[in-house]
Amino acid sequence: MVLLNKKFNRREAISTAAKISVATGLAAVAGGVVGYSAGSLTAPRDTIITRTVTQTVTGAPEKVELQVWDIETDPGPYDAMEKAIEVFETEYPNVTVKREAKSLSEQTTAVMAALQAGRGGDVIVVNNGETMMGPLVRAGLIIPLDSYAVKYGWFKKAFSPYIWKRAMYSRDGSVFGVGNLYAVSFRSEIVGVFYNKNIFRDLGAGVPQTLQELEDVLDRAKRAGYIPLAIGGLTDWPFFHLFGAIQASFLAHEFGSPLKAQEYIDDIVLSWREDRTWVKDGNKKAIQKIQDWIKKGYFPEGFTGMTIEEALASFKAGKAAVFLQGNWYAAEIAEALGPKNVGFFPVPPIEKGEAMPPQIGGMGTPHGISIFSPHQDIAAKFLDLYMLHPEVIQTLVAKGVLPAVPVPLERVERDTLMYDTAVVFNKTLERGTMWHYLDWTTPTMWDTMSEAGFLVYSLEIEPDEFVRRVEEDYRAWQARKPKPA
């Protein structure tokens, strides 16, 4: 009760501050200004950072400062974001965009602290699923973007209905993957296999069509003295990609079709369905496969004590045949080895003739709009421009980053790494099968799976035990997950 009161008081204080700010604004501007859109959702922050007068009716538009708290700190996306801001400020001269970029975990904590105080950026990072979006929706701290999506035609122009699901939650925050749209991203991600074309030529290998063929290439690379597969086991998250990719192949095989496998993973990661289980042959076989590869020496010596940065450096140096990772590394790799010396292929199916299994990927870490933003319409305009403006898309593509829209292949030079990643991504979009990042499943899955993954790497646990641990985490979440109101 005390808490509720406190919350109420804070909101009240904020709205008082808003009134004062509007009054100041009126006095200062002396005419032309009617006020701000006083909807119940638009409780503005106090006026220290920004003068909060948004909507103008007549006369010159008011000066507005739009705060963007993003996480696009990797070089390519960083530049594209800067481009988006530049273009936006040119198109809307009354708006100044104040960008505050931080890497994901730092920005997440900053957003949390700011929202508690009823402040923060207008545009804020809203990572998918229970990693951020769920708690934010349940607390009513971000606004649904559906009306903007319709207005700007986002659903038609970008991604695919399938990918959009990942930025959706039911209004009460109890179900992931359905309901309202809460965030958008300007880039796409796809995980696959980077391969060094020179090494493949040396080995006389082509693009593998089955997992067994991939294994054969690894074996030949091993015998030729290369690192077959560059991977760093000390960094925890690459395991999610390695396991997820191979898991998708095995499950597509087990279910008999990629779509069935997709349904399975959707039920688990998005819908947290009680009747689904991790105890599946495909999951066990994927772990078995990883451990086989370790035993056969396909991973770098001592890889459990190696970071992803070092693994990437070894691939960039031309020491490793393949590197199973996301396209976010494409620009760096292309720069190091030459865009035509590296290729990218999807993780192959189990048997020849089988359809391409689902590939891990989706939208980049998305951004939404804070409920405390006094400039929600302007923020939405910004999101539209950042996602769809041709100059921004061009900047992304030039930096080797996949944009939110399908890449027109005819505009990309053939036989380059960018071309390959675009092909794999477009194909995945078409098929409507895209594997999830498994850490979204439950709030504790990151920890559970990185610990279990480490024990898989060090051969301390068997596939059965791995699956048991993940299942245990999933069951615990069943008891704890948000229930529809």
């Binding site: 220290i48 070089p75 104040k98 505050e100 970029a101 890497s103 994901l104 602290a113 070092e310 976010w328």
Partner: protein, 273 residues
């Protein structure tokens, strides 16, 4: 006295120890001139080229020059502001018979060791209510408070070990309380004040949790926060990160070279008979 073999051994031994202690710093300077691959193939090598491009990029493109000014400003205000407050408060503990002395000292231990991570959320709400977000005061005020607590611990234990004759004599001469504190006690405690100031300078310089959340404006950031700019979601720019680290540490190293004598004087306490 026996002939001591350490006459020759001692310089040698301490030289080896000195090298071991210093080598990480030397390595990190060398590594800032290398590319990633060179770094990962072991640091026991001379960089193939010495180029200050990284330093230029970090200072200018990543605005570390500006961040150095910010950090210097915050740190110096915190350290300087805390000292008189701590002197006065400690005087009440050493000169006066007050109640709750132990409680106050315990509170100081809590204050000096409070986990910043947990303070972050309430601190943001507080500073936001005061309208101080993106204002250096939002960081200066809490760090000054923490620094006061730390200073008091150092000062109190130093002053307890001081011989009482000076103070008694001054008192018998009819010196005022105020005179006693600022003209007698403070000069006597100079070593402790200096070493507390030096240590808290380093603590404040390197702290980053409060500036991270309370100064979201990138132009207001401090150096340790600025270092985060080199690790993105997936990519870590190791050479730039090292370069940034060296730029971050450099003023502290110079600071140490100048003041290293003081670090030790104040916290090595007078021997009690």
């Amino acid at each position: 006295m026996r002939v001591n073999p350490s006459k020759l051994l001692l310089p040698l031994l301490t030289l080896v120890i000195s090298l071991i202690m210093m080598s990480p710093l030397i390595f990190s300077v060398l590594a800032s001139f290398m590319n990633e691959l060179e770094i990962y193939s072991g640091l026991l090598r001379i960089p193939t080229r010495i180029s200050f491009e990284n330093y230029y990029d970090v200072l200018v493109k990543y605005k570390f020059a500006k961040l150095t000014i910010n950090t210097t400003l915050i740190t110096s205000i915190v350290v300087v502001a805390a000292i008189p407050v701590a002197i006065l408060a400690t005087a009440s503990l050493t000169l006066k018979r007050i109640r709750f002395k132990r409680t106050i000292l315990t509170v100081c231990v809590i204050g000096a060791t409070a986990p910043e991570i947990m303070l972050m959320i309430p601190m943001f709400s507080l500073m936001s209510d005061l309208g101080l977000i993106n204002n250096f005061l939002s960081v200066i005020l809490p760090y000054t408070a923490m620094t006061i607590c730390f200073d008091m611990l150092v000062l109190y234990s130093y002053q307890r070990g001081l011989p009482s004759e000076f103070i008694e004599a001054a008192y018998l001469d009819g010196a005022s309380d105020w005179y006693l504190i600022w003209r007698i006690l403070t000069p006597l405690s100079k070593p402790a004040i200096m070493s507390a100031a030096i240590l808290t300078t380093v603590f404040t310089w390197n702290s980053f949790i409060l500036p991270l959340v309370l100064l979201p404006d990138p132009d207001m950031a401090t150096l340790p926060v600025g270092l985060l700019r080199f690790s993105g979601q997936y990519l870590v720019n190791v050479p730039l990160l090292l370069t940034g680290s060296i730029i971050t540490s450099f003023p502290m190293i110079i600071f140490y070279l100048i003041f290293q004598g003081y670090v030790v004087k104040g916290v090595t306490f007078a021997v009690r008979e």
